[in-house]
């Protein structure tokens, strides 16, 4: 049974369809990259998976021991967070809120979990720093640590390397790959097709109004669309 399955899902806003007929499965340990042109509905798909939005039709289900609220995610930061006074530790800890239940304070184990995740992402030394004064790459790591606090089952990411310099984005991709190797299922939206085919086990290519491809990365590279897209996305495959 897959951890996440989408069956004939249509997405859109106010009844207007943006993309329809999305059917794909994500199994434990998969690394799925979602690619496609601007405006094809990738971010919308992500919001729908997270239940921040309802699909126009079709079914999205979780299984294999994953509850719908056990999906962590990483988005580009919102405007409100730009001047928010909060330390790195405060932000990372907030990912553990669902474990605390009605308890007003975090337990020792929960704080320990936060520390471990900060360690994994190499941000322990800035735990007391102000979130808004960090660089974009550091902020992304903080939000990823928070997501890992919320769940270690599935993590969704919307362009986690956007706005990072080449060195920092390679670091980010390596980090994500390590997480994936340690058993975290990764679903990532990316415009970096070269990195996508390098790291991902599966590719979902969304085109105008319909799915252009879903399958393993290996198969993707054999299709015409795969060849074309990887070719225009960069010159080395």
């Amino acid at each position: 049974m897959p951890q996440l399955s989408c069956r004939d899902v249509s997405l859109g806003y106010d009844g207007k369809t943006i993309v329809s007929g999305l059917t794909f499965d994500v199994n434990k340990g998969d690394y799925l990259c979602i690619v496609g042109d601007n405006g094809s509905g990738k971010s919308t798909l992500m919001k729908t998976i997270l239940r921040l939005q309802t699909p126009l039709s079709g079914k999205i289900e979780t299984g294999d021991g994953v509850a719908p609220n056990e999906i962590g995610y990483l988005l580009q930061q919102t405007a409100a967070q730009k001047d928010f006074p909060a330390t790195v530790l405060e932000v990372v800890l907030s990912g553990l809120l669902n474990r605390a239940g009605m308890r007003p304070f975090y337990s020792k184990t929960e704080k320990q979990t936060a520390n471990e995740n900060m360690e994994t992402l190499g941000i322990s030394h800035i735990a007391k720093k102000c979130y808004r004064e960090l660089s974009g790459g550091q902020q992304q790591r903080v939000l990823l640590a928070r997501a890992l606090c919320a769940t270690r089952k599935i993590i969704l990411m919307d362009e986690p390397a956007a706005g990072l310099d080449p060195g920092a984005s390679i670091e980010m991709y390596t980090l994500i790959k390590n997480l994936n190797d340690s058993g975290v299922t990764v679903i990532m939206i990316s415009h970096d097709i070269i990195a996508s085919v390098k790291y991902a086990s599966h590719i979902l290519h969304i085109g105008r109004e319909k799915t252009l491809f879903f399958g393993t990365t290996e198969d993707y590279l054999k299709t015409d669309i795969g060849k074309l897209y990887t070719h225009t996305g960069g010159d080395t495959v």
């Binding site: 928010f84 006074p85 669902n98």
Partner: protein
Amino acid sequence: MTEIFDTIVLAFDFTMVRYAMIVGVLIAMCSSLLGVTLVLKRFSFIGDGLSHVAFGAMAIAAAMNLTNNILFVLPVTMVCAVLLLRTGQNSKIKGDAAIAMISVSALATGYLVMNVFATTTNLAGDVCTILFGSTTILTLTNIDVWVSVILSLSVVTVFTMFYHKIFAVTFDEDFATATGNKAKLYNLILAIVIAVVIVLAMRLVGALLITALVIFPAISAMRVFKSFRSVTIWSVIISVKCAAIGMLASIVLETPVGATIVAVNIIVFGLFSFIGLLRRMI
């Protein structure tokens, strides 16, 4: 100098002044606790809208000759708080307009009702009191004091119990929702607490000046401090001190309480902005 001191010592001999100080400090504490969240959630205008609703409700309560108007004003304000917080979230533009509409409707209705059902000869004075707070500090009854103490202690308790939850929904409501937290419930609790604070603070500074009491300590603290916790703690410290100084000053200078407290807050804001600027330059 000794003269001023004497005035203050003399004033403290009155039980009423002591009561007023206790209530004032408690109100200042509650309002600043919530101020941080309201400012960060971009909800400052909801506080403003609600204070006008509280004015309208107060006017109607006065017209109905209710002995304990808080029993009417509090529930009405709570309902409006919940409604406003809802609309504020769904769609930005419509939410804005809704708040403006509710707020001016409440003001107009309140003023109309007060005029039509005027029970006193000094209508202008009454309106002024509700809008800007009492001109003197000595107008609290025994019940007022107890109601204020109980309500503010509840606000502080709720805030402490839900501190981490409030942080999470303030920082990133979507993430909190998606990872299985009852963000809607916490927003509801927040709305209710805001209503309590507004109704409480209205007695101290009046309907028009509440927003100042809620917002100034928070933005002053944000100029200098960088963690959510230190901003919260410092806005309480700032607010309590400003309220105490403001009340004492109003006794000595014989100025209206509410306006004096707000004036102190404005001065402190200037001071903290300056400190923040210095810090950034060094």
